[in-house]
C-alpha cells in the first residue's frame, strides 16, 4: 500500500491553480485545502465555502461595547454622584456620545479579531501546520487527502494538466517545524 498521505499540487500561477481545482472537481476528487501566499478572489464560490459570519460577531460586540460604556457613564454621572453644574441636567446625553462611539469601535475591533483568531486557531506560539514552505512565498498549493481517493497518478495528471509545476506525494501531513 502506498505510504502517501497528502498529494500537493504546487502551482506558480493562481489562474492555473484555479484550473487545477476545476479539474479535480470535474473528477469528483475532494480537495482538503488550498494554501496561497495571497488571497484568491472568487475561490470561495468555487470551493463552496460559506460566507464568513464574522460580520455578525462584529455587530454583537459593537452593541456590547456601546451598552457597557453607556452604563458606566450613566451609573457614575447620573446615578451614583449626580452633580449640579450650572443647573444643567446630569443626564447630558451629548457628552455620552464620544465615549459610546469609541467603545463601540473598540469592542467591535477586538471582539471580532479575537473571534477570528479563535475560529482559525491563531494564537502566539501555535505550531504552524504548514504543508509546503513555499506556500507563503511563491507557490499556490492544492492539498488532496490521499486516503480513499482515485489512483494517485490520476490526481497527479489532473494537476499537471492544469499547469502544476510540481506534484508532491507527501508521507507526512505537515512539514516538521522542529
Amino acid at each position: 500500500m502506498s505510504k502517501t498521505k497528502f498529494i500537493l499540487g504546487c502551482f506558480d500561477d493562481p489562474d492555473n491553480m484555479m484550473q487545477g481545482i476545476t479539474n479535480l472537481q470535474k473528477n469528483s476528487v475532494p480537495i482538503y485545502d488550498v494554501y496561497t501566499p495571497m488571497p484568491i478572489h472568487g475561490i470561495e464560490a468555487k470551493m463552496g465555502v460559506k460566507d464568513s459570519r464574522l460580520g455578525y460577531a462584529a455587530f454583537c460586540f459593537g452593541c456590547l461595547g456601546a451598552t457597557v460604556i453607556f452604563s458606566i457613564v450613566y451609573y457614575t454621572l447620573v446615578h451614583d454622584w449626580p452633580q449640579n453644574i450650572g443647573g444643567k441636567p446630569s443626564f447630558a446625553m451629548p457628552d455620552f456620545v464620544p465615549f459610546t462611539f469609541e467603545w463601540t469601535i473598540l469592542f467591535t475591533a477586538f471582539g471580532m479579531t479575537i473571534t477570528f483568531f479563535a475560529a482559525t486557531h491563531l494564537f502566539p506560539g501555535r505550531a504552524p501546520r504548514v504543508m509546503d514552505l513555499r506556500a507563503t512565498d511563491d507557490r499556490f498549493i492544492i492539498a488532496v487527502d490521499a486516503k480513499g481517493n482515485i489512483p494517485h497518478d490520476d490526481i497527479t495528471n489532473l494537476l499537471k494538466e492544469a499547469g502544476a509545476v510540481e506534484v508532491k506525494h507527501n508521507e507526512r501531513k505537515y512539514v516538521s517545524y522542529e
Partner: protein, 490 residues
C-alpha cells in the same frame, strides 16, 4: 483569465521587468533577512541619540516636575500640547491609507499601507508620551480611568473633552495596532518559512501559526474590511475630539465650530507629508522603486495639495468669522496672531501650509522627488507652527491684559520635542529591519492585474485601442523606474 485585465489607461501600480511572486518576496524581505547597510546605521545612530535626548528631558520633567518647562501662569499649554496634536495628526495618514483607501478600492494603497500604519503607531506612541508627561505626576495617570476609589467614589469628569481624549487616543492606538498586526501575520509567516534556527522560532511565535489556508484568507479579508470600515469613522472622531480640547473652551481663537473638520484636514495633510518624508528615503535606501512608484508619490502629493487647500480655506474662514461675529475678543485674537508678537509663527504657518502646497499644481514639481521631499519637510514644519499658533497665541493674550505674557521654551521643552522625533525615527528604523516594510501579500495581488509587466503583456497581445495604448505609454514617461526604450518597438 479575462477578469484579471484592468483598463490599459490606468497607470501601473508596480513596475519592473521579469517580476515574479518569488522576486517580490525576495526584494521586500531583503532588509529583514540581511545585515543593515551603512545608511541604516547612520540613521539609527542619529535617531538613537535623539531618543537619548528624549529620555534625559523626560526624566528631568518627571523628576522635577513641569517647572522644567517654560510654562507660566498665562501660557499653561505650549510645546507639550503642540507636540501632542502634531504627532496625533501625523498618525492619521496611516489609518487613512489603510482604511479609507481600502474602502474606496484604491489599490495603490497596497504598497504603502504597511509603513504608513507603522508610522501611525509610532506617532501615536509619541503623542501619548506627551499626554502622560503633561500630567506632571505621571504615576497618577490611572486617575483618568473610571475606577472605584476611596474618595466617594469620586468619578472622572465625563463632561470634559480631555476625558474624551483619553478614550479616543487609547481606542485609536489599540485598534490601529490590532489592524496593523493582523495585516502583518501573512508576511511574518513568509519570513518564518524562509528562516532557520532561532529566527524561525521567533517569527513562528509572532506568526500565530498562520498557514494561508482558504478559510483563513477568507476570514482575514472579512476582518480587514470591517476593521477598515470602523477605523474610518474612528480616525475622523479622534482628531475631532482632539479639536474639542480647544473648541469646548471659552478661549478666543479656540471657541469655534470649524475646528473638527479643520483639524481632521490638517491631520491628513501633515500625515501624508510625514509618509512622504519617510517613504521617499525608504524607497531609495531599500531599493523599493518598483513598488513605491512615481504614481504613488504623485497621488500623495495631490492629497497634500487638496488637504493643504482645505486647511487654507479654514484659516481664512476663521478670520472672516472673527470679523463677521463682531466679537471684539475674537477679532483681537486673530489680529494678534497675524500682527502681534508671534507674527513670525503665524506667517511661517501660512507660507508653509497654504502657499507652498499650491506649488504642486505644477506636474513637474509634483513628480520631482527632491522637491517632494523638501516640501514634505516644509509641511511638517508648517503644521507644527499651526498648533503652536493656535495654542500659544490664543493663550498668551486673552481677556485680561494685565495677565498677558510671552512663552519662552526651556531646553527641556526643546529636548522633549526633538527627542520625540528621535524616538519616532528609532522605532521606524527598527521596524524596517525586523518586519517587512511593504505588505508582501497585498503587493502580490497587483502582479497579474496592475503591474507594468501585466500591461505590457496586454499590449503585446494586441486587441487594444491604439489611442489608449499611446495614452498609457505617455503616462509612463513620468516613472523613474520604467525604461521607455522597452516601449519603442511594441
Amino acid at each position: 483569465m479575462a477578469h484579471h485585465h484592468e483598463s490599459i489607461i490606468r497607470e501601473p501600480l508596480m513596475t519592473g521587468k521579469d517580476m515574479t511572486y518569488a522576486r517580490i518576496t525576495n526584494e521586500i524581505l531583503l532588509p529583514v533577512e540581511n545585515k543593515p547597510n551603512k545608511a541604516w546605521w547612520i540613521g539609527f545612530v542619529v535617531s538613537a541619540l535623539g531618543a537619548l535626548l528624549w529620555v534625559v528631558s523626560i526624566s528631568l520633567t518627571f523628576w522635577y516636575g513641569l517647572g522644567e518647562w517654560g510654562l507660566n501662569k498665562t501660557v499653561g499649554w505650549a510645546w507639550d500640547i503642540t507636540g501632542f496634536v502634531w504627532w496625533v495628526g501625523i498618525g492619521h495618514a496611516g489609518t487613512l491609507i489603510s482604511a479609507v483607501l481600502l474602502i474606496f478600492g484604491q489599490n495603490w494603497r497596497n504598497s504603502i499601507n504597511r509603513s504608513a500604519e507603522a508610522m501611525t503607531i509610532f506617532a501615536v506612541i509619541c503623542a501619548a508620551t506627551y499626554i502622560v508627561a503633561h500630567m506632571g505626576r505621571p504615576w497618577l495617570a490611572y486617575f483618568t480611568l473610571p475606577l472605584p476609589n476611596q474618595y466617594g467614589s469620586l468619578w472622572v469628569n465625563w463632561n470634559s473633552a480631555l476625558m474624551m481624549d483619553v478614550f479616543a487616543i487609547s481606542t485609536y492606538f489599540s485598534v490601529s495596532l490590532l489592524f496593523w498586526y493582523t495585516g502583518l501575520l501573512p508576511d511574518i509567516a513568509s519570513i518564518r518559512d524562509r528562516a532557520k534556527g532561532l529566527r524561525r522560532r521567533i517569527y513562528s511565535i509572532l506568526s500565530f501559526g498562520w498557514t494561508g489556508s482558504l478559510k483563513t484568507w477568507q476570514r482575514f479579508e472579512t476582518v480587514s474590511l470591517i476593521l477598515a470600515g470602523i477605523s474610518t469613522p474612528l480616525v475622523l472622531s479622534v482628531h475631532t475630539i482632539v479639536s474639542f480640547d480647544f473648541a469646548t473652551s471659552l478661549e478666543p481663537g479656540w471657541h469655534t465650530t470649524i475646528f473638527p473638520p479643520y483639524f481632521v484636514a490638517g491631520a491628513i495633510f501633515s500625515g501624508f507629508a510625514m509618509v512622504q518624508t519617510l517613504l521617499l528615503v525608504t524607497r531609495k535606501v531599500l531599493g523599493l522603486e518598483n513598488y513605491i512608484t512615481m504614481f504613488h508619490i504623485e497621488s500623495m502629493n495631490k492629497i497634500i495639495m487638496l488637504t493643504g487647500s482645505i486647511v487654507g480655506v479654514a484659516y481664512i474662514t476663521e478670520f472672516f468669522i472673527a470679523w463677521y461675529s463682531q466679537v471684539e475678543y475674537e477679532q483681537y485674537a486673530f489680529i494678534n496672531r497675524a500682527t502681534g508678537p508671534y507674527w513670525w509663527a503665524y506667517w511661517s504657518m501660512m507660507s508653509c501650509n497654504v502657499i507652498s502646497p499650491q506649488l504642486f499644481w505644477s506636474s513637474k514639481l509634483r513628480r520631482s522627488i527632491p522637491f517632494s521631499w523638501a516640501l514634505s519637510i516644509v509641511v511638517n514644519i508648517g503644521m507644527w507652527f499651526e498648533r503652536f499658533v493656535i495654542i500659544v497665541t490664543s493663550l498668551h493674550r486673552d481677556y485680561i491684559p494685565s495677565s498677558w505674557a510671552m512663552f519662552y521654551p526651556t531646553w527641556v521643552d526643546v529636548g522633549v520635542f526633538i527627542g520625540s522625533i528621535g524616538v519616532f525615527f528609532t522605532l521606524f528604523l527598527l521596524f524596517i529591519r525586523v518586519l517587512p516594510s511593504v505588505a508582501i501579500a497585498e503587493v502580490k495581488l497587483l502582479l497579474k492585474t496592475a503591474s507594468e509587466q501585466a500591461k505590457m503583456k496586454q499590449i503585446k497581445e494586441g486587441h487594444l485601442e491604439p489611442a489608449e495604448v499611446q495614452y498609457y505609454k505617455e503616462s509612463l514617461t513620468k516613472y523613474d523606474s520604467v525604461d521607455m526604450a522597452d516601449y519603442e518597438k511594441v
